[in-house]
């Protein structure tokens, strides 16, 4: 580059620098005010961000997520550990008859029932019936 071109570029640099620095100096009052507020906000946020309260608040989301995961794990673990309710054994024919027979059910629910007597009566009747037939 020739000395003339070099000088021309220097002059261009000087003019651009002057123009840009003038634009900085001529920032309007509203923008200056916004910049001042931004500065104070940054300083306040930084101060608040280093307070003890902020220290534990920073971990709050992580703690909430950990608690939720732990709860899910506990619930799922309990569901797997608890055997599923066994289906009732298939009801026998006698049970169904007993449930269908209101008198029999009432009898079975009585407290002082002499089951031996009723058993004897049934066998005796069967014996009688067998004896008659023979």
């Amino acid at each position: 580059m020739s000395a003339e071109e070099d000088g021309s570029l220097d002059e261009f640099a000087r003019r651009t620098r002057a123009l840009l620095q003038e634009s900085v100096a001529n920032l309007d009052g509203a923008m200056r005010s916004r910049l001042t507020r931004a500065r104070y906000a940054a300083l306040e946020q930084a101060a608040a961000g280093n307070s003890p309260a902020w220290s534990w608040q920073r971990w709050l989301p992580a703690g909430a997520i950990a608690s939720a995961v732990l709860t899910v794990l506990i619930v799922v673990g309990q569901q797997r550990a608890t055997p599923p309710l066994q289906a009732s054994a298939p009801a026998s024919g006698e049970d169904i008859e007993l449930l269908a027979d209101a008198d029999g059910l009432a009898l079975a629910q009585e407290a002082d029932v002499d089951y031996d007597f009723y058993e004897w009566a049934v066998y005796a009747a069967q014996d009688d019936h067998a004896g008659v037939g023979t």
Partner: protein, 208 residues
């Protein structure tokens, strides 16, 4: 050890310092930091505004850079604050540009593209409009020249733009600019020189 070597040694990759407490700093240090931010906020805003071509985005970038500096590097020697701050600011500017590109790419796929985006688009004439206050003809000419310069600077490659704005607006010397850009002084000179050449070609009509 000079300042540059010290900074690069102590902070490779500018890893954020985990331990920092503004409340631990003395009132004098806090006041010193506040004063420093007051001195850089206007040139920083203009640098971000020219790079981003958007007032609110520039303001957000400056505030974000201030916040990061105060949180992470306040305990550094005051002499390091300026290059650190402008390095952070450049990262904020690039983050904003990256988000803008991503947003534009997403919006380009949407059927209703071009409606919401217009509010923040670079071509937002309201946001970019000059101050409506009446000005003399000379001021109009200056404003037009300045706007043309800003448009041209925004077209520069990022490193050239950074070198040009730091040297022109902030008035940094080559060494300080190299610190802020994390490159050698020779690279700064190259970027700055190429930026000037490109700008002069683009702005020929305004500077004749």
């Amino acid at each position: 050890m000079n300042l540059c070597a010290q900074l690069l040694t102590e902070s490779p990759g500018l890893a954020p310092l985990e331990v920092f407490a503004l409340q631990d700093s003395t009132p004098l240090e806090s006041a010193q930091l506040a004063d420093f931010l007051a001195t850089v906020e206007r040139p920083a805003f203009r640098i971000a505004q020219i790079a981003l071509r958007h007032e609110q985005d520039a303001l957000d970038a400056v505030q974000d850079a201030m916040l990061r500096l105060v949180r992470r590097y306040a305990e550094r020697p005051a002499a390091q604050w300026r290059p650190l701050f402008y390095r952070i600011l450049e990262n904020c500017v690039r983050d904003t540009q990256r988000r803008r590109r991503t947003r534009n790419n997403v919006i380009a796929w949407l059927p209703w593209r071009g409606t919401e985006d217009d509010e923040h688009d670079e071509t937002d004439v309201i946001a970019q409009a000059p101050d409506p206050a009446p000005s003399p003809a000379a001021q109009v000419q200056t404003d037009e020249t300045l706007q043309a310069l800003e448009r041209a600077v925004a077209q520069l490659p990022a490193r050239q733009r950074q070198a040009f704005l730091l040297r022109s607006i902030e008035g940094m010397d080559v060494a300080a600019t190299a610190l802020a850009m994390r490159c050698s002084e020779g690279s700064v000179k190259t970027h700055y020189f190429r930026a000037l050449q490109t700008l002069r070609e683009l702005l020929g009509e305004y500077w004749s």
